[in-house]
């Protein structure tokens, strides 16, 4: 069955890959972009019309860091639910992280993820392979075979590649694939059993702190190793001022280093652990809302200064892209003490609203944000695994489109999430900026307030 062609009329079209930012109509036909008009006009005959007046129309978002949990942890998320959640968040391409059971350290598991994505996914699923067998940091995976199976990079995410020599070998060997090594930079001997950002709030709560320097020292180490080896290094979820500065210097020296930041690290801080929506109790008294396990995440929520630095890094291009680190968990993983709680935030459905926080604060432009959620991750994917030609509304590319209302306010209600993971500290928080419609390959896969199955 051939879908009816669609025209999205009257919206402000922002397509950073083509330098487009104007009022225009977007015509979609046969699953690809037909054209972006010079100006809004009359809808052609035979096209279904989506009125985007007052809205922003952009390429579908790309997330290079998504935990889909399948295979093995289907009680937390499946590829079906995770991709449906992605559609609700405006994402049309997501990259499955390898910390599944079994790990994505072998071609069979990678092929399973990609096949299940094609068969059950609501949006496009790509896969990331592990760096080392069982993500144990000891022996490299068969990188060439995984590349053939279709991975877009290698990461032991959740587990930093702790041994500097293994990281060095990974950055060297991976060059036969041209794919990046994506590292979760957190020096375990410093981070220890830390549960949140080290500082006066952790101290007040009696929780073990993770100093920012746990990130800094490993980012600096990996940059040095990237320089030594000439390998392609991508730093996951950059979250501290010093680490942003380190990446900035590395880029100035022309190294092959890229970085991402999460929606939570550009919008909320360690004060959220108090459970008061970011407020700090004036008199220091804790309520029973304190120790909100939904704020437990790796790397931890940082300070206001770090949030500012990460946003500055996005604004000046030091940080290439937004990546969600969407980490859904079952209720029981968070219904416990802070120390026992699993790390991670289910955030793919709130990502755009969270990233609009610095935009509404005037610290980041909307065009820049969209660049970092579309064109920049598309460049990162490059020509690998069919990554070429994503993240733009050029004629002939897949008709992956998102319609956004940047000023619409909505209250976060995790019970309405499509994700199985209801673990968000934003429950009850009002976000400003909403995904209205998501189209994948020319089909509407999400419409706000409407259930699309």
């Amino acid at each position: 069955m051939v879908n009816k062609p669609i025209v999205i009329t009257g919206g402000r079209v922002i397509d950073p890959a083509q330098g487009i930012d104007r009022l225009a109509d977007v015509l979609l036909k046969d699953g690809v972009v037909e054209t972006v008009t010079d100006a809004p006009g009359t809808a052609p005959d035979g096209y279904e019309v989506i009125d985007a007046t007052g809205m922003v129309v952009a390429p579908g978002f790309i997330d290079i860091h998504t935990h889909l949990r399948e295979p093995g942890l289907e009680h937390k998320e499946t590829i079906a639910t995770g991709t449906r959640a992605a559609a609700a968040g405006g994402f049309t391409t997501i990259c499955a992280m390898p910390n599944t059971e079994p790990n994505q350290d072998n071609a069979s598991t990678v092929e399973f993820v990609l096949r299940t994505g094609r068969e059950q996914g609501v949006v496009r699923v790509m896969a990331i392979g592990a760096v080392t067998l069982e993500r144990a940091g000891k022996r490299l995976v068969e990188m060439a075979e995984l590349a053939d199976a279709g991975v877009i990079g290698f990461s032991d995410d959740g587990n930093p590649v702790a041994d500097p020599n293994i990281m060095r070998q990974a950055l060297t060997y991976s060059q036969i694939t041209g794919l990046p090594i994506i590292n979760h930079c957190e020096e375990p001997s410093i981070a220890g059993a830390g549960q949140m950002q080290m500082g006066v709030i952790a101290s007040h709560l009696g929780l073990t702190g993770v100093p920012s320097e746990a990130e800094t020292v490993m980012v600096e180490r990996d940059i040095a190793l990237a320089e030594l080896t000439g390998g392609r290094l991508h730093i996951a979820h950059l979250s501290t001022r010093r680490a942003v500065e380190a990446v900035r210097r590395a880029k100035e020296r022309g190294l092959r280093v890229t970085a991402e930041a999460t929606p939570h690290h550009v919008s909320i801080t360690d004060a959220w652990v108090y459970g008061l929506g970011g407020a700090i109790p004036n008199d220091g008294s804790l309520s029973t809302a304190a120790y909100d396990t939904n704020t437990k995440v790796n790397p931890p929520l940082r300070t206001y200064d770090d949030v500012d630095a990460v946003v500055e890094g996005l604004a000046d291009g030091t940080i290439d892209m937004i990546a969600t680190d969407h980490a859904p968990h079952a209720a029981t993983d968070k219904e416990c003490t802070y120390q026992e709680a699993a790390h991670g935030i289910s955030n793919i459905e709130t990502a755009f609203g969270s990233c609009m926080v610095p935009v509404h604060a005037g610290a980041l432009s909307l065009e820049n944000l969209i660049e970092r959620m579309t064109a920049a991750p598309a460049r990162f994917l490059g020509t690998t695994a069919g990554g070429t030609g994503l993240g733009s509304l050029k004629s002939g590319l897949p008709a992956d489109v998102v319609v956004l209302d940047p000023t619409s306010e909505w209250e976060v209600d995790p019970s309405a999430f499509f994700s199985k993971g209801k673990n968000t500290p934003l429950d009850g928080t009002t976000l400003k900026g909403r995904v209205v419609i998501t189209l994948y390959a020319g089909e509407v896969v999400h419409e706000a307030g409407v259930t699309v199955e």
């Binding site: 006066v200 007040h204 709560l205």
Partner: protein, 369 residues
């Protein structure tokens, strides 16, 4: 050389004015004037002031000075009960108190148990190692199961900071924090305040010096809240590796109510000068392995309280210790059992304080009777 830091900012909002109901100040007729067999026989005195609406006792951070005063006054009445030949009142008859300890403890658990039993409550003791928790049942299921058996007060100790806050947010019974991780131990702090007040009178303006491992000490953390509420001058001294972020050199943060108004002094001799109360904290042996300390020998040399050092404090200064003591390390045997030590009295006062706390919470759960 000597570094003395004083954070001067005080919390903007006075305690007790944050929407919490005011504590009534009326006092019941002292029990001594009641005849046995009359209404509410054997009721300890000074109960009237405690019929507040406090739901839980999780830390002293949300207590007003007045509320602390009332508990201390009530403990006087409880001590009177404890001094009787027949140490039993029916005050909390029909009430069920559950002590749920996820860490080994003798003195605190026994103290709560005795407090509950003297007041006539039924006390059930559960230690987590002997319970379903070791079979993998979650904390939430455990407390919900126990609550389903109808309990009025849950007294809880847990190795994780914040655990009683989590439990309190999930159950209807009143929750008393009997120690959570490295966070708080409010009834220990109340008994410390009570012991100080019995010897020194008004605590306001008194210099209290706490020495040692403030980073991992939940007792010290609650003491610091309680002492500041009561207007004491708090001085702390310890190895920089064992001071919490916020007090450690280079981390002073005047914008946190948790750490304002505390003097941090490097040298123990300076910290002891003019002290009215000296409180060395228990030093854990595992702090050597974790790299916080070179060894206990050097710790003892630098921070141990002995007769020479105690002599630097005010004459008659109280020597307190939250127990259990490592004699010869943070405190010499000589002073630990000397004339200035009130360490055993702290233990006996603990029962009176816990009676006052349990009474207060049960008064609430009786619905303002």
């Amino acid at each position: 050389m000597a570094r003395t830091r004083v954070a001067t900012r005080t919390p903007e909002r006075p305690h007790g004015q944050s929407g919490k109901p005011e504590i009534e100040t009326s006092q019941a007729t002292p029990a001594a004037h009641r005849k046995p067999g009359a209404a509410r026989p054997n009721q300890p005195p000074m109960f009237g002031g405690l019929s507040g609406s406090r739901r839980n006792v999780l830390d002293l951070d949300d207590f007003s000075k007045e509320e602390i005063e009332h508990i201390l006054q009530s403990a006087d009445g409880m001590n009177e009960v404890l001094s009787r030949d027949v140490r039993k009142t029916p005050t909390l008859r029909g009430k069920t108190i559950l002590t749920l300890f996820f860490e080994n403890s003798t003195r605190t658990r026994v103290s709560f148990e005795q407090a509950g039993k003297v007041l006539g409550a039924d006390v059930i003791n559960v230690s987590a190692s002997a319970s379903s928790v070791s079979k993998g049942e979650s904390l939430l299921n455990t407390v919900r199961t126990l609550e389903a058996m109808k309990i009025d007060v849950l007294v809880m100790r847990h190795p994780h900071s914040g655990a009683p806050y989590y439990v309190a947010s999930k159950i209807d019974a009143a929750v008393v924090n009997a120690g959570d991780g490295t966070h708080a131990h409010p009834t220990q702090s109340l008994l410390d305040l009570y012991t100080m007040r019995r010897h020194l009178g008004d605590i306001a303006g008194k210099k209290v010096t706490i020495i040692g491992d403030l980073h991992f000490s939940r007792v010290a953390r609650s003491d610091v809240w309680g002492l500041r509420k009561m207007g004491a001058e708090v001085t702390v001294c310890g190895p920089p590796t064992l001071l919490p972020y916020g007090l450690r050199p280079g981390t002073e943060q005047a914008d946190s109510a948790a750490f304002t108004g505390i003097n941090v002094v490097d040298r123990v001799e300076e910290a002891l000068e003019g002290a009215d109360v000296v409180m060395p904290l228990r030093i854990q042996r595992e702090r050597q392995e974790s790299g916080n300390l070179p060894d206990l020998r050097e710790y003892s040399k630098l921070y141990g309280i002995n007769a020479d050092r105690l002599a630097l404090a005010n004459p008659g200064a109280l020597l307190m210790h939250p127990g259990p003591m490592n004699e010869g390390i943070e405190i010499s045997s000589e002073v630990a059992h000397g004339a200035q030590a009130v360490i055993e009295e702290q233990v006996s006062n603990g029962v009176a304080i816990r009676m006052a706390v349990l009474y207060m919470l049960c008064a609430r759960s009786r619905g303002g009777e």
